[in-house]
Structures are given as structure tokens and as C-alpha cells.
């Protein structure tokens, strides 16, 4: 090797751009194809037959798919909200109070986190069967809350751990009751972690297929499962449209989250 100040792997300028272009293509080409195809007049994606909003229109009239979409949004919103509230409270309990099963509680959270989806799915199914809960909206919601919970607890707990432990004592010392300590100190400081947990839960819930397919019934269909069954008989262009719309939504979220987090400072 020739000793030099340059990095060992120094590529020529042209080669460097080629490399970057390759990585970008690898990452984004599928998405570009998807978006472009959602505007393709042709029913089959391998040929461009002109620009069209046809599939958007068709999706708009595909009631079954739209219903599944709104079901998914409903479950994602509700489960993210419930999981965030429960998880935040649990993280607080483990952080702030000393009780008998404190250690086991935090250990059990990891069990849920580490379990493969398929194991959880079967577990849920058995439990719902045993309890006589009909598979549908409620079983789905309960399952989604459960598998989102550990992510919330871990996100919020790690933020709590970063606190100066004396902060809460300082608030108490200055005359704040327990409820005021929570409202005036803990909650404002946890806001970024809570927002992040909610969004994480929302996403997890929205794109879960394995657990959902086990615990939902024919009466309540959600998007991933609907799409999954649609593509079994060939990719419908409506699915392209739907994917494009979903991507747009996540793009908006990706832009909003850092803004929310920045309010901290």
C-alpha cells in the first residue's frame, strides 16, 4: 500500500457519482416504478400506455378496498393511542415507583418484544378462542395494542432514564403535588418520546400482516390483508395507487416528526 494522506479507497469523481447513483437506484427505483405505474393507463405494469388518473378513480370507487383502508386507519389510530397511554403509564410506574413485581414487569415487556410475530399471532388466537372473544375489530385492536406496547415502554422509559433524577424531587420540593409534578414537569419533558412512540405504534399497526391475519375475522378486513389477498391473483393497478398514497402519507409523517422533536430545544 502506498502511504498517502488520501483515504485508502479514493475513487475517481466519475466513479463516485456512479456509485451514488447505483445506491440511489437500488433504494428508490422500485418506488419510482410503483409511482409511475400508478399513473399508467395499462393494466399491466410492463408497458407504458399513457398517463391516466384512471386507477385513482377506480380506487375511489373500490368500496371494499377503501373500507379496509379506513378500518386500518381506525385500528392504527386507536391502538397507537391506547398503547401510548398505557405504555407511558407503565414506563412511569417502573421508573418512579417501587412495587413488588417491578422487575418482572420490565422483563416481561422484553418477552413480548422478542417473540416472533408468528408466535404472538398463535398465542393471541388461542387466548381469544379460550375466552370466547369473536375475531373481528376488538380482537384485532387488543392484539395491536399488545404488540405496540413494548415499543412505547422502551422509548418512554429510555427518555425517563435520561432525566436528572432530582428534577421530580425539585418540583415536589417547590410545592408541586404528584399530579402537578406529572402535568408540569414529566409530561412536557416526555413530549418528544410520547410523540415518537405514537407514530411508531401507528406505523407498526398499519403494516402488520401476520398477527392481523390470525386475529381478525371475515367481518372486519384491514388494508394489508386485503392487499395481500388482491395480489394473490395478480397485482392490480389500484394497489399501486394505494401504495403511492400510503407513501405520501409516510413522507408527510417523516417531515412532521423531526419538527415535533425539535420543539424540545
Amino acid at each position: 500500500m502506498i502511504p498517502s494522506n488520501k483515504p485508502v479507497l479514493s475513487l475517481g469523481s466519475g466513479l463516485r457519482w456512479l456509485f451514488i447513483a447505483g445506491v440511489m437506484a437500488f433504494l428508490y427505483l422500485p418506488i419510482v416504478v410503483l409511482v409511475v405505474n400508478s399513473f399508467n393507463e395499462s393494466k399491466y405494469g410492463h408497458k407504458w400506455q399513457g398517463f391516466s388518473f384512471k386507477w385513482y378513480e377506480k380506487l375511489w370507487h373500490n368500496d371494499a378496498l377503501l373500507e379496509a383502508f379506513f378500518n386500518s386507519l381506525t385500528v392504527a389510530t386507536l391502538s397507537a393511542t391506547c398503547a401510548t397511554i398505557l405504555g407511558t403509564l407503565m414506563a412511569l410506574a417502573v421508573y418512579r415507583y417501587r412495587f413488588r413485581f417491578r422487575q418482572s414487569a420490565s422483563a416481561l415487556i422484553f418477552v413480548v418484544l422478542m417473540s416472533p410475530d408468528i408466535v404472538l399471532a398463535i398465542t393471541f388466537l388461542i387466548v381469544f378462542m379460550a375466552l370466547g372473544i369473536q375475531l373481528g375489530f376488538w380482537s384485532l385492536l387488543i392484539a395491536h395494542i399488545t404488540f405496540c406496547l413494548p415499543f412505547v415502554v422502551i422509548t418512554v422509559y429510555s427518555q425517563l432514564k435520561g432525566f436528572d433524577g432530582n428534577l421530580l424531587e425539585a418540583a415536589q420540593d417547590l410545592g408541586a403535588k404528584e399530579s402537578q409534578v406529572f402535568r408540569l414537569v414529566i409530561l412536557p419533558l416526555l413530549r418528544p418520546a410520547i410523540a415518537a412512540s405514537w407514530l411508531l405504534s401507528f406505523t407498526l399497526s398499519l403494516d402488520d400482516v401476520i398477527i392481523s391475519s390470525f386475529v381478525t375475522g371475515p367481518g372486519f378486513e384491514i388494508l394489508p390483508i386485503r392487499v395481500f389477498s388482491m395480489v394473490k391473483v395478480g397485482v392490480s393497478p389500484e394497489v399501486n395507487v394505494l401504495a403511492t398514497l400510503l407513501m405520501l402519507i409516510s413522507l408527510v409523517v417523516v417531515i412532521i416528526v423531526p419538527l415535533l422533536l425539535r420543539r424540545k430545544t
Binding site: D164, N166, E169, A170, A171, L174, K177, V185, P188
Partner: protein, 387 residues
């Protein structure tokens, strides 16, 4: 027992104006306090009385229980046994938010999401003080710590010393009966710490609030306090003025923890009357000492001398030999003093610290120089021998 160690015995030996006739009001009274963590007893049967308006320091090595005492007073820890009276009211079971005390934390514990103004106003808002009064009191508190221009800043935009001041302002703005300070200056650098020591002392004098200051820094304790409690292993070792603690330590622990000290073992040979005794030191040197309590013939004692109390004489030719003979092992020039380590003939090592004076600005020792060690009669401090 705090009040026992602060006994008459110390006052007779000390030429201090501390001989208070009227007992000052007690603002903090801890009685028979026991505190355990798991099985370990941090405090056992601990008593403490702090007078109204004094600057009281709890001094001890880490793990001695001093912070626990503070946290018990603040209300962050429940009592296992014993009681706490604040200003004549039993607050043993009163939660922290309703005790008339405020704390300045070692880590400052400023609320990071609130401005300096809102940090200082926090306690007043909790107490539902009217808005106009909050404004004026916070302004006043910030003016007191010279931080008026920083009211709108967030804590992260402040330096360590400024955060420290905000923490103090946030506590005193509530006009507590007692201000608790937990190692409050230890996070600051040396120069700033000295400056804050002076400011704290001035502030305490101005406000007239009782300060209870916890530290492991003996220099800090001596320079700021009206009275000092020295603690070890969850027990009070001595309570007294800085001068009593330094000049008349109650036991070997206090003597060694506060500054440097040389300790001779001695045996009382004869009583000379008026608290004077003839003592045989290190089994070979007879010396008259003055004490502050009664001893019997044959009693074993420790005779203690601070490094600055020793008088060292270089031996040039035939001089009158007084005291112990030895030789200089080490000499260190510190600017203000010449500190030396002297090994006596029997192997014991003594620390001496001598100021330079006008007569002999160049005075110094050679290593291995033969010297005699002596001290002014009455400057020694004698306590019964401890195991």
C-alpha cells in the same frame, strides 16, 4: 448524640465568645432518627438541633449519611424511626411539597423546558401567589443573584455558576424557614467555588434564613459555617463552631478529617493542678500539657498538634535541646508556608507548616538536616486515648 459532644468540656478549653447564655431558637430538631436502606442502617438514633438563622454545615466523608439527613429533612425519604420538628411543628409525616424548607440540589435540577424566570417562579405558582407578586418577587430574587438579564434564557444556555445561582434563587424566592444545600458548590471549578462561598455566606446573612449545607470539603465547611456537624458512619462525631472543631477535635476521626494533625501517644504521670498535667510522650519525653478535662495518673491520652503549631529549630552547634530530635525528610515550598516532613528518632513522622516571616525570608531546610521539634505550651490538644 450531637448535644453531648458539644459539651462544656470544649468550651472551657476554647477562648471563644461562643459562651451563649440564652439558648437560641431551634428551627430543626431531629430526634432518635433511624434510617435503613435494605438491611443497612444509614442512621441510627441520630439527633440534631439547628438554630434559627445560622449557617449550619454537615461535614463528612462520602457515605457517612450526611445527604440522607438532608433528604429526610426535605421529605424525600420516609423516616424508619424518629421525628422531625421544623419551627416547632412536627412534620415527620408531612410530604415534601408541604414542608417549609427548600432544597438546592447538587445537580441544580433546573427544569430544562422552562425559562430561568419560570424556573424561579415555579414554587410561587404552586403556592398560588398572585401574578403581580410573582413578577416582582422573581425579579427581586434574580436581582439578588445578579441574573436579571437572563430571565428569558433556558437553563442550557447558562454556565455552571449561573445555573447554581438560578437554583439558589428558585429556592429562596419561596422564603423557606430553612434552605437545604446538597454539596451545592462541588460541581464548580476552584476559583468559582471560592467566589460562591463568599456569595452564599453573604446571602445567608442578608436573608437571615437558616442554611443547612452538606459537604465533604472541610475547608468549605470551616470558612462558611457558624456551626459544623462532623459525621462518620451515620453518627455525629462532633458539633461546634469551626474553631472548636479545628482546635479542639472531640476524637481522632474529627482531628484527622479536619486538616492535618500530628498525634502523640502519652501517659499522664502527675497532676499539676488547674487542668495541667505532666505527660510522658512516646514513652521518652516528659512534657507539661494543658487540657480541658480531668485525668487520673496513668491515663493514656492522645496529644495532638496541628502542623502550624510545631516549632522547628535547626541545630547549629550546642544549643539548649528542647523537645524531640529528628531530621528533615521532605520540605515543600508552597508560597505562603514552608511545609516539612520530619522523622523523629523513634521513626514517627510529623508534619510541620511554618510561615515565612520578615526576619528570615530565606529560611529553608536541607533534606536530612537535624532539627528539634517543639511547641508553645498550651497549644496542644489532649483527648483520652482511643482504641
Amino acid at each position: 448524640m450531637c448535644n453531648v459532644t458539644e459539651s462544656k468540656a470544649f468550651e472551657t478549653g476554647v477562648t471563644e465568645t461562643e459562651t451563649t447564655v440564652t439558648q437560641p431558637d431551634t428551627v430543626i430538631q431531629l430526634s432518635g432518627v433511624t434510617k435503613r436502606y435494605q438491611a443497612q442502617e444509614i442512621l441510627s438514633g441520630f439527633n440534631l438541633a439547628v438554630h434559627d438563622g445560622e449557617f449550619f454545615t454537615i461535614l463528612g466523608p462520602s457515605g457517612c449519611g450526611k445527604t440522607t439527613v438532608l433528604r429526610l429533612i426535605a421529605g424525600f425519604e420516609p423516616f424508619d424511626e424518629g421525628s422531625l420538628m421544623v419551627a416547632g411543628q412536627d412534620v415527620t409525616l408531612v410530604p415534601a411539597e408541604r414542608r417549609p424548607v427548600n432544597t438546592v440540589f447538587q445537580s441544580y435540577a433546573l427544569f430544562p423546558h422552562l425559562s430561568v424566570f419560570d424556573n424561579v417562579a415555579f414554587g410561587l405558582k404552586m403556592a398560588k401567589v398572585p401574578k403581580s407578586e410573582i413578577q416582582s418577587r422573581v425579579d427581586e430574587a434574580l436581582a439578588m443573584v445578579q441574573l436579571q438579564e437572563f430571565a428569558a434564557r433556558k437553563p442550557e444556555q447558562l454556565s455552571g455558576g449561573q445555573k447554581q445561582r438560578v437554583a439558589i434563587a428558585r429556592a429562596v424566592v419561596n422564603r423557606p424557614r430553612v434552605l437545604l444545600l446538597d454539596e451545592s458548590l462541588s460541581a464548580l471549578d476552584y476559583k468559582l467555588r471560592l467566589q460562591m462561598q463568599i456569595e452564599l455566606k453573604q446571602l445567608q446573612r442578608k436573608l437571615g434564613i437558616t442554611f443547612i449545607y452538606v459537604t465533604h470539603d472541610q475547608e468549605e465547611a470551616l470558612s462558611m459555617s457558624d456551626r459544623v456537624l462532623v459525621m462518620q458512619d451515620g453518627r455525629a462525631q462532633q458539633v461546634g463552631t469551626p474553631r472548636q472543631i479545628y482546635e479542639s477535635p472531640a476524637n481522632l476521626f474529627v482531628a484527622r478529617f479536619i486538616g492535618e494533625i500530628n498525634v502523640f501517644d502519652g501517659v499522664v504521670q502527675r497532676e499539676l493542678g488547674d487542668f495541667q498535667y505532666q505527660v510522658l510522650l512516646s514513652g521518652r519525653y516528659t512534657r507539661e500539657v494543658r487540657t480541658d478535662r480531668k485525668y487520673q495518673e496513668g491515663d493514656a491520652v492522645h496529644v495532638m498538634l496541628r502542623p502550624e503549631d510545631l516549632r522547628i529549630t535547626s541545630l547549629h552547634g550546642e544549643q539548649k535541646r528542647v523537645g524531640f530530635s529528628g531530621q528533615v525528610l521532605e520540605r515543600n515550598y508552597t508560597g505562603q508556608t514552608l511545609d516539612s516532613l520530619i522523622q523523629l528518632d523513634d521513626g514517627q513522622q510529623l508534619k510541620a507548616s511554618e510561615f515565612f516571616d520578615e526576619d528570615d525570608p530565606d529560611f529553608d531546610y536541607r533534606i536530612n538536616e537535624a532539627v528539634w521539634v517543639d511547641w508553645v505550651h498550651g497549644w496542644e490538644h489532649v483527648i483520652p486515648k482511643q482504641p
